[in-house]
Symmetry: C2
């Protein structure tokens, strides 16, 4: 994977994709599937909505670090399986044969085969809503990933991959943030 300028983080989160979020609790890594996310600004702040029902949640808040990974269609089935077993009792990486790479700025790992991975630090947590505010520290792009379509959870057990692409840059050029 290759790093990209930080501004590119937005282009992986704004589309609203399914994400795989890795953590490292000091002993072992873990990964959770999160679909409830949002872009927050043009300064690489992003939102995860999660809570103590995820075993990784503790590690996320304690270490204040994670990697938000974007699976393509090739990893979709594994992404669903990640959400169906618990890291408390199983080694998800071993069981689901998911390879990892070391990250640069955090101890949580990058996931092999993903379209992109965003190394993040937790900057705030709003317990009432399970809002975890993240600052993206590093953006990795997997140029060798054959199928770079992002996938979106519909919420009913079905998913869609990115389809037709539309370029409306000319219409909104006055409002495009720098670097995008």
């Amino acid at each position: 994977m290759k790093t990209l300028p930080l501004e590119k983080a937005l282009t992986f989160i704004e589309p609203g994709p399914l994400t795989l979020v890795t953590t490292f609790d000091g002993k072992k890594p873990n990964v959770m599937t999160i679909s409830w996310t949002a872009a927050l600004d043009f300064n690489q702040h992003i939102l995860l909505v999660t809570g103590p029902w995820n075993y990784s949640f503790d590690a996320l808040l304690k270490t204040k670090e994670c990697v938000v990974c974007l699976p393509g269609p090739a990893l979709l089935k594994k992404a669903v399986q990640v959400g169906m077993i618990s890291g408390e009792t199983e080694d998800k990486f071993k069981k689901l044969r998911i390879k990892t790479y070391p990250a640069k700025k955090v101890k949580a790992p990058l996931l092999a085969g993903c379209v992109a991975c965003l190394e993040c630090r937790v900057t705030d947590y709003i317990k009432k809503y399970g809002f975890v505010i993240l600052q993206v520290m590093e953006v990795w792009h997997n140029e060798r990933c054959r199928d770079k379509r992002l996938v979106h959870a519909v919420g009913d057990g079905t998913f869609t991959a990115d389809g037709e692409h539309f370029n409306l840059r000319a219409l909104m050029k006055e409002k495009l943030p720098p670097g995008l």
Copy 2:
């Protein structure tokens, strides 16, 4: 448009689509384009990230009502144009030839031609992050909309429409919420 059970609201927001949010300030309706949204729970709470840079923001907080509409590809160009002009100086509906229908539970209008429209009440606002928490009150689905693909903003002036569909319900049946 026909109403759907409230549980279906999630299936229009969880995929992370571009939205058009209508308001009514007591005198006239307005509409803004918002891409920074998230699903929050299985009780029809959803999140918009916005702020005073949107002219409709005042009306949204004062009336505590809006309609979150999901444009398909046919309305994408207009959705971008909605974001490029201000309701303070222009009547966006007239200028962009966007038709509206009365909603059932709020005074903000439904937008004709959208894939779906969610009537919402504002239940909370977190100023620090521009978080507007909404409770969906009514779900409208446009059965006659020819192209029901949702569209996703990439953040760089390009957009994608929903493409290939994957059904993984069997894999995650234990975790599917009731009604979905």
